[in-house]
């Protein structure tokens, strides 16, 4: 309802009064807020719950808004206070805007139109379902002070622990070493003293009969020599064989990548499904290294890292890696647009099968329904990706011998499973029984 004014003058004074009133109000409010912050939190709840606000913010607003950074929409830290300060707009206006921004723009509100134009003429989605309480919760969340990287401090503390552990270990070791040195020294001293006593007392120490030294005896015993040579050769052969068999096996290969991509953060902390990024694993022989546009699905809005950090991997470090991504894909974060300057990332390939071995991801992922971790290990815990399995033929074959074929609900298998399981007299067929050990299944 518009309030009809009696006259223009009336209107003006009224407005002025309102402004003065509000200014006063705000000062008092601020003061009380500081007091409240300092002494009490219970009262805060009346103004809105920032915890509930955060949840609401993340579900409704985060797609387009950040607290401290312009995105699709403006940065929202202290939005209420800022609007009140700079534009003289109150919560009522904000509520109206949140519930129906298009309506506000249509009504010709100057600031609304300005914002609308500034952000490329895209109206904000209307949220009529948000209650007053919800809005006040969200605003309370936006009004929270920016935390100055508390995570980093915590991380530092965490990181310090293993260091001190290491230090104590060396200390203990050093102590032990000194102890042993003292003991050894004491023994020598004791021995020396005893000999001196013996000398003094004229006791001739029994030098023993002239026995042949043990090595000479060993050399003279040809049987023993033969046995030990054989043993040595066998052992040598064993180790040489072991060495040669691991040539070309790159288990544990953990190369430095051009961008430090942490599977731990993505697949572990954030629980992103492997196949969201490695989508071709479902249909193709290669799992595919995700193209950078897939990264940008999320990283358009995730421009900084706010998770746990360590001394080695600090927030700055991770933020720097995100910058590297932006640089590669040609994303101008400030302007929120692509520059078109693309620099493809040259990842170092970790899992390298030789060309003569054919492996198909979709066979294992989609048909067999295997977890990626079966072969790739606990990727969700890997800060740096490494090769978990040896990827040798023996390793493949062993799994094929043990793994049962997932035949349920797959009409392809119905007939062959029925016939083969009868033939082999088993309930469930292994991949090997299905023909998974034939040379030509992987080598052509």
């Amino acid at each position: 309802m518009k309030k009809p004014y009696q006259s223009l003058e009336d209107n003006l004074t009224n407005n002025m009064k309102q402004v003065i009133h509000r200014k006063l109000d705000r000062n008092i409010l601020r003061l009380s807020l500081i007091i409240l912050l300092a002494f009490s939190t219970s009262l805060h709840a009346q103004e809105g719950d920032p915890v509930a606000g955060k949840a609401l913010f993340n579900t409704n607003c985060a797609a387009c808004h950040q607290l401290d950074k312009k995105m699709t929409g403006p940065a929202l830290r202290n939005v209420e206070a800022r609007l009140a300060d700079e534009e003289g707009l109150d919560r009522e206006w904000l509520s109206k805007w949140i519930r129906n921004s298009a309506g506000v723009i249509k009504s010709g509100d100057a600031y609304a139109v300005k914002i609308f134009d500034e952000y490329g003429g895209a109206a904000m989605t209307a949220y009529p379902q948000l209650s007053d309480e919800d809005i006040s919760n969200i605003l309370a969340y936006t009004a929270e002070e920016k935390k100055e990287a508390p995570a980093a401090a915590a991380g530092g503390a965490v990181a310090a622990n293993p260091q001190s552990d290491g230090a104590s270990n060396t200390l203990i070791l050093a102590g032990l070493a000194i102890l042993f040195a003292i003991l050894a020294g004491a023994l020598v001293l004791v021995n020396k003293t005893l000999r001196r006593f013996a000398d003094e007392k004229g006791i001739e120490l029994n030098q023993g009969q002239k026995t042949t030294p043990i090595w000479k005896a060993f050399v003279q015993n040809q049987f023993l020599v033969l046995v030990s040579v054989v043993v040595l050769m066998l052992a040598g052969g064993y180790f040489v064989y072991g060495y040669l068999m691991q040539v070309g096996v790159n288990q544990g290969y953990e190369p430095v990548q051009p961008i430090h991509f942490s599977h731990k953060i993505h697949a572990g902390d954030n629980g992103i499904d492997c196949k969201y990024c490695h989508s071709s694993a479902r249909v193709s022989k290669t799992s595919g290294i995700p193209s950078l546009n897939v990264c940008m699905n999320c990283h358009k809005s995730i421009y900084e890292y706010n998770g746990e950090t360590t001394a080695e991997y600090s927030k700055e470090f991770y933020d720097g890696e995100i910058k590297k991504l932006y640089d590669a894909v040609g994303w101008d974060d400030a302007e929120q647009k692509y520059t078109g300057e693309e620099k493809p990332v040259k990842w170092v390939r970790i899992h390298n099968l030789p060309d003569f071995a054919y492996f198909n991801h979709s066979q294992h992922v989609t048909v067999a329904g295997l977890e990626c971790q079966t072969c790739h290990g606990p990727v969700e815990e890997m800060e740096i990706m490494s090769q978990h399995s040896p990827l040798t033929m023996g390793w493949c074959i062993n799994c094929h011998r043990d793994t049962e074929v997932k035949v349920k609900d797959n009409p392809y298998y119905t007939k062959i499973h029925e016939q083969l399981s009868k033939k082999y007299g088993v309930e469930k067929l292994t991949a090997a029984q299905m023909g998974g050990l034939e040379c030509g299944k992987c080598h052509y």
């Binding site: 070309g248 193709s284 193209s291 390298n352 016939q419 034939e438 030509g440 052509y444």
Partner: protein, 1034 residues
């Protein structure tokens, strides 16, 4: 005591105080050793800080480092897309429908692309016209990755930009048009509605413009005859599947005759169904594919061919004919005529005689027969060249009347018989432009070379037959800075539209009749139901037309044989008109008839060879040496090597076009001699004198055992009469062996050395090859190369019989007139000597007959269930799969070659060298560009391993995986191999015999089915179907 002995080194030592002894004690070599002499530069050596010890240290260290480094794997980089195209999934192939239209070959095809690069060409099953890709079309994908392609437009020797090209040429064109000078567009046959429209717009803009269509291998006579009769420029189309009697006079209906593409229909009529199959009679001079497949082949010289036609005309239509033919020809013509008349509307006559009267006679006879196979209503549009116009053009150029010549898709300096005159005329033009992929013979002398894209990088449309359209779409972004001829036309016409949009608009307005353009693009083909508004309805003006005589038959009958011998110029299945000469696949592709690769040659009959003293000698397993001969046509003389060709008509010789290229190709590909200079008046028949020249030419052949020598187990054949009337055991008996003096069939388990393995569960693959439907065209050979990364080894290696073809098509001649007589002769041998002695008899059987019967037999690994190769491999590198395939694990193979020695079919191939990335084998696998054609699903083999046909296990595995992923049962027809899917004739059928409803399972039960060398007991998984010849003269 030995210890008391003292040895004196010299008498000087007796002197106690000798200084010499003292000096020698200190220094063994008193004089300095003359090391300078062999160490050279003393200053440099002294200046060097490297001592001998240092040197040894370095050697030791580097050896150790090298061996350590060898244990360390290389760092492999993976570079994903920045923005991945939605349609591309790495590792999954995409297929696009397009049309190959290079002016000589036209085919609707599917292109298989992997990660965005085309790697293989396949048949488009939606196409009703030209849906079968021949060997050249299959190989054309390699042309895309030709390292000698023109990479950017050029002016003379220097590279220029397209904007320079555009501005300079359009300025010059306008200037020339203003001055009233003739502007000529000399192009290949495009048969493209949009290009025709563009050219007519070009003519509107430049009033002096003229368009000349030039086919290197002319069909002008047939076109002129058709136009004279039906008032439309085209070629009558034939559907041989509707014919019961096919009579061909010098028409290679299974080769490149009238554009080719008739073999699928032909093969359909050749397979006996309900005891019926077509009968094919061929009159010809050279041994062609059609002749080799014919039931009756009559060798007649080119001049007699005209008489044969006249005689046929007189016998069927009833014109007068008084000339006499040789008795056996006369008899054959009588028989052919009576059979044609009897067949009536199911009979058809075709001719390849390049004479307008001969062509007219054929049109008349087919009309008279009311032949169903003959279709003048939807004429073939893929040949439009006009000889007269080309001749006029050359004369005009020489006279200096032509101001500008713009060429596209043609190479007249190579293909014109009067190329020197053309070159002379070219110098008189003020502007010469050629759109070319190579700096070929023509491009190297024109002012501008406009870098043209490959067919697979281009847009376009084709009207293959009237109302039957095909669309060309790019399957890869242009590799180089190239532009199409049509783009340039748009630019010269001042039209800003992109060519692809131009096509779209044209199609929407004039062709599609409201049908969806996207659907047409998806299908690659479109058949207009009603009469389309547009089509290429070019009608040549009267002056450029060769008009047939009103009484064509009598003119034909009056033709006289020239003096001397008659030369027939033809095109080979492998090389065509020669535009793909830089394609190593095609160079190494053995000719189906002569089985010779890397060459062309003069084919001479045995009788003529004897008269002229020409000879062929077998010098090694793959080595054939042939005499050289000087041949002279019209004063022009060239020296060519000779191959003695069974079946060549006496008094005639043959020479293939398409060889002897000199520019725009690698040295290795500069093979053979150029026959075009002899192609006077665009007539493929020339009067010629042949004389022996000195020296012998080294040919590389893949098969020198030319005859079957009565070995009926290799190729079984019978006649239609016996096939229809007698039991299977008379014509396709299972071989028997003696067990306890009882005849026991080899298929019985009692006589088997091996235990039977139960293969009834899961898939069991079989490949069936019908010898009746196989024409020997060789499309499967090239498809196999492309699919399986088969290397090219070069002429020298082929001569050492080290060819790597996984799939070969054996060709056998009969030694007597028929194979039947061979068998009779063999069985009648008695004793070693005498008339029927086997010693001389087998010698005779090695020699092919003058006009032999011919059979083709594709042979690849037979995937024996009881494979001899598997049992002898010391490292178990080759083993058997449950699905019937004989596996080959390359990484396990150590190269003993025992398996190849033990293989009764000789299908295993050994990698004597590393054929990729090796400068000694400078073919496509030696450069990065050429390697882009490699199929990523198949290992590229290395030196020292054995390889062979895998029955395309990568394809069967993919089919199975797709079904597993979709959770469905596999339907018949889904399983394919590269060869079976390339075979448009239906000769090769692949599938799962455990699926009892499948085609191949039914073929296994067919009476005609037999296995190759069945008596060996190998139980192959490749079936052959007995060849039936329709020798019954009706």
């Amino acid at each position: 005591m030995s210890s008391n002995k003292k040895y004196w080194k010299s008498v000087e030592e007796l002197n106690e105080n000798s200084s010499i002894v003292e000096t020698l004690k200190q220094n063994e070599f008193v004089n300095e050793i003359p090391t300078d002499e062999f160490l050279g530069d003393k200053d440099k050596l002294e200046g060097s800080s490297t001592t001998r010890r240092d040197f040894l240290k370095y050697v030791g260290f580097s050896t150790a480092a090298a061996s350590l480094a060898a244990c360390e794997g290389p760092v492999i980089k993976s570079i994903p897309y920045v923005v991945q195209p939605e349609t591309i999934i790495p590792g999954v192939a995409n297929y696009y429908a397009t049309t190959v239209a290079d002016g000589f070959d036209f085919a609707s095809v599917l292109v298989k692309t992997r990660e965005g690069r085309p790697i293989k060409i396949e048949n488009n099953s939606l196409a009703t016209t030209d849906g079968g890709a021949n060997a050249r079309v299959n190989a054309s994908v390699l042309g895309l990755y030709d390292s000698l392609r023109v990479k950017t437009p050029m002016k003379g020797e220097s590279e220029i930009s397209w904007s320079t090209f555009n501005s300079e040429t359009s300025q010059k064109l306008e200037q020339l048009a203003g001055a009233g000078k003739q502007i000529v567009l000399l192009t290949q046959t495009y048969a493209s509605p949009s290009t025709s429209k563009l050219i007519s717009e070009f003519k509107e803009k430049y009033s002096t413009a003229n368009h000349v269509v030039y086919d290197a291998v002319s069909e002008s006579a047939a076109l002129d005859a058709f136009q004279a009769k039906y008032n439309e420029r085209g070629l009558a189309s034939y559907n041989f599947s509707l014919a019961t009697t096919i009579v061909s006079v010098a028409a290679d209906i299974l080769g490149d005759w009238q554009g080719g593409g008739f073999d699928a229909g032909y093969s359909q009529s050749r397979v006996p169904v309900n005891g019926k199959m077509s009968r094919h009679i061929q009159f010809e001079a050279n041994m062609s594919l059609a002749g080799a497949n014919a039931d009756k082949r009559v060798a007649v010289t080119p001049s007699q061919q005209k008489l044969v036609l006249a005689k046929l005309h007189s016998l069927i239509v009833g014109s007068a004919f008084s000339k006499s033919l040789p008795a056996h020809v006369e008899k054959a013509v009588q028989a052919a005529a009576s059979q044609l008349k009897k067949a009536g509307s199911t009979g058809v006559l075709v001719t390849g005689v390049n004479d307008v009267n001969a062509q007219t006679v054929v049109l008349e006879i087919n009309e008279a027969l009311n032949s169903k196979a003959f279709d003048p209503k939807t004429p073939i549009k893929t040949r439009q060249g006009n000889d007269k116009a080309v001749k006029t053009l050359v004369a005009d150029m020489k006279a200096g009347k032509v101001g500008a010549i713009i060429m596209s898709g043609v190479n007249p300096l190579y293909t014109l018989p009067n190329a020197t005159e053309f070159a002379e005329g070219l110098k008189k033009t003020e502007l010469s432009v050629t759109f070319s992929m190579k700096v070929d013979e023509t491009a190297s002398v024109t002012q501008y070379v406009a870098a043209a894209p490959h067919n697979l990088e281009s847009w376009g449309d084709v009207e293959l037959r009237k109302g039957h359209f095909g669309l060309i779409q790019p399957t890869i972004r242009p590799l180089f800075n190239t532009r199409q001829f049509q783009d340039a036309l748009l630019m010269w016409n001042g039209n800003d539209v992109v060519y692809s949009d131009y096509i779209k608009t044209l199609w929407k307005n004039d062709i599609l009749n409201g049908a969806s353009y996207n659907q047409a693009l998806h299908d690659g083909v479109f058949v207009s139901k009603g009469s389309s508004v547009i089509g290429d309805t070019t009608v040549e003006t009267e002056e450029n037309l060769e008009t047939p005589s009103s009484n064509a038959a009598s003119v034909l009958a009056a033709s006289v044989a020239p003096k001397g011998m008659e030369l027939t110029l033809y095109t080979k299945v492998g090389m065509g008109d020669g535009q793909q000469a830089n394609n190593p696949w095609l160079q190494e592709f053995p000719d189906p008839i002569t089985r010779t690769s890397w060459d062309n040659y003069l084919t001479v009959s045995a009788a003529d060879a004897k008269e002229l003293g020409l000879e062929n000698k077998h010098v090694a397993t793959g080595g054939l040496d042939g005499s050289y001969a000087d041949i002279t046509v019209n004063g022009k003389s060239i020296t060519v090597p000779v191959i003695i060709q069974p079946g060549q008509a006496k008094g005639s010789v043959g020479l293939a076009l398409g060889y002897g290229r000199t520019a725009g190709l690698k040295d290795e590909m500069k093979t053979g001699v150029n026959g075009y200079p002899l192609y006077n008046n665009f007539n493929n028949v020339q009067s010629v004198t042949v004389a022996k020249a000195s020296g012998m030419h080294e040919f590389a052949c893949v098969q020198l055992q030319n005859t079957l020598m009565g070995r009926e187990d290799i190729i079984k054949e019978t006649t239609l009469e016996i096939f229809n009337t007698k039991d299977k055991k008379h014509w396709n008996a299972v071989p028997v062996v003696s067990l306890n003096h009882q005849e026991t069939p080899v298929t019985s388990p009692e006589v088997d050395l091996w235990d039977e393995f139960d293969r009834s569960i899961g898939h069991h693959f079989n490949l069936s090859i019908d010898l009746n439907a196989c024409t020997g065209c060789g499309a499967c050979v090239i498809a196999c190369h492309a699919e399986n990364n088969v290397p090219v080894v070069g002429k020298e290696e082929i001569r050492r019989s080290r060819d790597m073809h996984w799939l070969r098509i054996d060709r056998y001649y009969s030694s007597e007139d028929t194979f039947d007589e061979d068998i009779t002769k063999k069985t009648e041998f008695s004793g070693l000597f005498g008339d029927k002695g086997s010693l001389s008899g087998f010698g005779e059987l090695e020699v092919a007959a003058d006009n032999p019967q011919v059979v083709f037999q594709p042979v690849m690994c037979q995937h024996c269930n009881h494979a001899p190769c598997e049992t002898v491999c010391p490292v178990a590198a080759t083993s058997h799969g449950r699905q019937g395939q004989n596996h080959m694990a390359y990484n396990r193979c150590v190269g003993t070659r025992y398996c190849a020695n033990n293989c009764p079919y000789k299908v295993r191939r050994f990698n004597w060298f590393l054929y990729n990335g090796n400068d000694e084998f400078d073919y496509h696998m030696n450069d990065d560009l050429g390697r882009m054609v490699v199929n990523p699903d198949v290992t590229v083999r290395s030196r020292g391993v054995m390889e062979k046909c895998s029955m395309c296990i990568q394809m069967t595995q993919k089919t199975i995986l797709d079904a597993k992923r979709d959770g469905r049962v596999i339907k018949d027809g889904e399983f394919q191999t590269a060869c079976s899917s390339a075979c448009s004739n239906g000769a090769m059928v692949f599938g799962d015999i455990n699926d009892k409803e499948s085609k191949v399972a039914k073929l296994l039960e067919d009476d005609r089915m037999y296995h190759l060398l069945e008596y060996v007991g190998t139980k192959p998984n490749v079936q052959y179907h007995t060849k039936v010849r329709n020798t019954s003269e009706a």
